[in-house]
Amino acid sequence: MLDAIAKDFNFSQRALGLRAYRTEVLASNMANAETPYYKSVDFDFSSAMKSAMAGDDAGKNLALNATDPRHFSTSPDGGAAGVSMQYRGAVQPSVDGNTVDMDLERGAFLDNALQYQSTLTFMNDRIATLKSAIKD
């Protein structure tokens, strides 16, 4: 029963993990907006999400062995696993070799924060649904 609920949240949980990681990556780009030779990095969210969900079945070998049905099921946590980082092409190359485009980074950061919040909203709605089902 609890396992079914945990599975239900698996997708949102992974999405949140990746969104949080992307927040970190974009914050790192903005922090280094004036560091010489720093190259702006980012990852493709949809492919990272796909590999995270595929790794859900494939990554079973990383989980702890459960020899008893009462053992907790442990699957590797989403986060940064399976994310392939890529360098962003410079829109306006600068003399110091830095490729951070502040407008682009800020746009991506805002978009990412909104997506994080919408994932949270979906999760909250799901929790409310489950709660009302439990109460009845």
Binding site: L16, E24, V25, S28, A31, Y38, G79, A80, M102, L120
Partner: protein
Amino acid sequence: MSLSSVFTISGSALTAQSMRLNLVASNIANAESSTSSTGQPYRGRHVVFTAIPVSADQPQVDGVRVTSVVEDQSPPILKYDPSNPLADAQGYVNMPNVNPIEEMADMISASRSYQTNVEVMNTAKTLLQKTLQMGQ
């Protein structure tokens, strides 16, 4: 928790940018200092930013750190002022190689970067707060 390292990243940028602001203040304050404790005219100082990974398991996520402060090696500006006790035989005084206009531009750039990083921290704070309130 993944999102809390955003505070480390942006915090490192705040420290670095405030150090840059300090140096700008020092340069502007000493723009007319024709002598110093070494007996030489003041030289403009600049920070060197370096991207430093916040943790070993995430080499792609970098904070920023001021690794050194370098002195501007360009020659001092000569100013004709025969009444100055520091003037040479021709009546010229060595003045600091600080360009106040460049320093002002540097100051604006540093304060804008500072503001952006504060905004990033605020966004991360909002996201964390909403995550903590999940399911309520």
